[in-house]
């Protein structure tokens, strides 16, 4: 049961189709598990339909409908079959694992600190500027205290962590910015794995942490 949800403004931008792919992925993964937000997005999609209807309309070419019918007719039976065939179901349970072609626990993690491993997956999101990172905090492990230079949007994929703002469990959605300093601690049980989108590198607040900070090169 998720406790922390994306705010309504973010859901609206998602429904309008205005979020970049990494943010849309975070929202989509949350929606897969959260009936509360799904219901809001359904209503927001209806708002989109009503907005489209309430705006002016633009004349289409007289022959366009005939051209569409022409395309439907020329699409061969095999083309249509491809589209109606059930999608190939893979073993992976969600869009992220299908992108990674891996279970999130079997990734080639890079250990940064005793308890912290990371994997940068920005390359899976070409043509956009944000950094996309998976982070793993060993069950019961601690991360270093850090603050953020920009905005960090995080979705908990597995396990749970706690910080001064509360406890964040699986599929919880968290947004932090440069006013937030936190020192996350993973709860016992599962390793805590998160997906984060970072608008700017985060910075550590302690001394000699610059070298260890996975996001400062």
């Amino acid at each position: 049961m998720t406790q922390h949800h994306p705010d309504t403004h973010t859901l609206m931008e998602y429904s309008a189709g205005n979020l970049s792919e990494p943010y849309a992925l975070c929202i989509r993964l949350h929606l897969d598990q959260c009936a509360h937000c799904r219901s809001q997005v359904d209503t927001l999609d209806s708002l989109g339909a009503v907005m489209m209807e309430s705006q002016p309309s633009a004349d289409v070419n007289d022959d366009m409908f005939e051209r569409i019918l022409g395309r439907i007719d020329t699409e061969t039976a095999t083309d249509l079959e491809v589209h109606t065939e059930p999608k190939v179901r893979t073993a992976y349970s969600n869009a992220l694992e299908r992108m990674l072609e891996s279970d999130i626990n079997d990734l080639p993690w890079k250990r940064q600190l005793a308890d912290v491993s990371v994997m940068d997956i920005t390359h899976l999101f070409p043509d956009q500027h944000d950094r996309v990172v998976l982070q793993k905090l060993t069950a019961g492990g601690k991360a270093l205290e850090h603050t953020h230079r920009g905005r960090e949007t995080t979705l908990v994929l597995q396990g749970a962590f706690a910080d001064n703002n509360g406890v964040f469990g699986q599929w919880d959605f968290v947004t932090l910015d440069n006013h937030d300093t936190h020192k996350p601690v993973a709860l016992e049980g599962d390793d805590c794995i998160t997906l984060s989108v970072l608008t700017a590198p985060l910075k550590l607040t302690g001394t000699f942490s610059r070298v260890l900070n996975p996001f400062i090169r």
Binding site: E13, A16, Q40, D45, S46, Q55, A58, M64, E75, M99
Partner: protein, 215 residues
């Protein structure tokens, strides 16, 4: 109480468009005319129903494309959307979404897809648009609910005309012009907080924000 009155009102209105010869007038009565047409396309590949949908939604989608800055590709988008409607119509389930909502999400996804293709610098597509933005009702795990969903569209439509112009303007820019709340604020020369409060006031009135929302 207001909700009950609205339901009554809708059902009375709907009866006039349902086809009494089909028998189950109550079930049919919940469908709006566009959803009935879309179902005819899905079940019978009915081209006259398809044409009616095109005549109604085609010009809306073209304006949507133009407002979103797809000027030279506006007609292409309309075509892509309608071909997609034809291909997917057999999966349409009126209990899961009103036709206009379903068609809006197809138009949105085709727009995103077109922009992604234009922006693409590499050939790779690590993720399909529809992995990220779903068409309502295409998740087979989703239980069939839905009076709630159908009512929500009517509620939104009925309430929208009572919203002040400044709230509608902000929402229209988000939905029709591919703008984030921040870019709406920049364009109108007002603080981000003002944009957010207009959206929030509007959504409260439209009851988009559910009562138990923590957001």
């Amino acid at each position: 109480m207001a909700e009950t009155a609205a339901v009554q009102n809708v059902i009375t209105k709907e009866r006039s468009v349902s086809n009494p010869t089909r028998g189950n007038a109550r079930a049919e009565g919940r469908k709006d005319p566009w959803s009935q047409l879309l179902e005819r396309v899905g079940r019978h590949q009915d081209r006259s129903a398809y044409r009616e949908l095109f005549e109604h939604f085609g010009p809306q989608i073209k304006y949507y494309a133009l407002a979103n800055g797809l000027s030279s590709h506006a007609e292409e988008l309309v075509q892509e959307v309608f071909v997609s409607i034809w291909r997917r119509s057999s999966t349409y389930d009126w209990r899961k979404a009103a036709a206009s909502t379903w068609i809006f999400t197809i138009a949105r996804n085709q727009r995103i897809d077109m922009l992604r293709k234009m922006r693409r610098t590499s050939r790779e597509t690590p993720v399909e648009t529809e992995e990220l933005w779903q068409i309502p009702g295409e998740n087979e795990n989703e239980p069939v609910t839905s009076l709630h969903r159908l009512m929500s569209e009517r509620r939104v439509r009925d309430s929208l005309r009572h919203l002040p112009e400044d709230q509608i303007t902000v929402i229209a820019k988000v939905y029709m012009e591919d703008k984030s709340h921040q870019s709406v604020a920049d364009e109108l020369g007002i603080p981000l907080g003002t944009v957010k409060s207009r959206v929030r006031l509007a959504l409260n009135k439209l009851k988009v924000i559910l009562q138990d929302s923590s957001a």
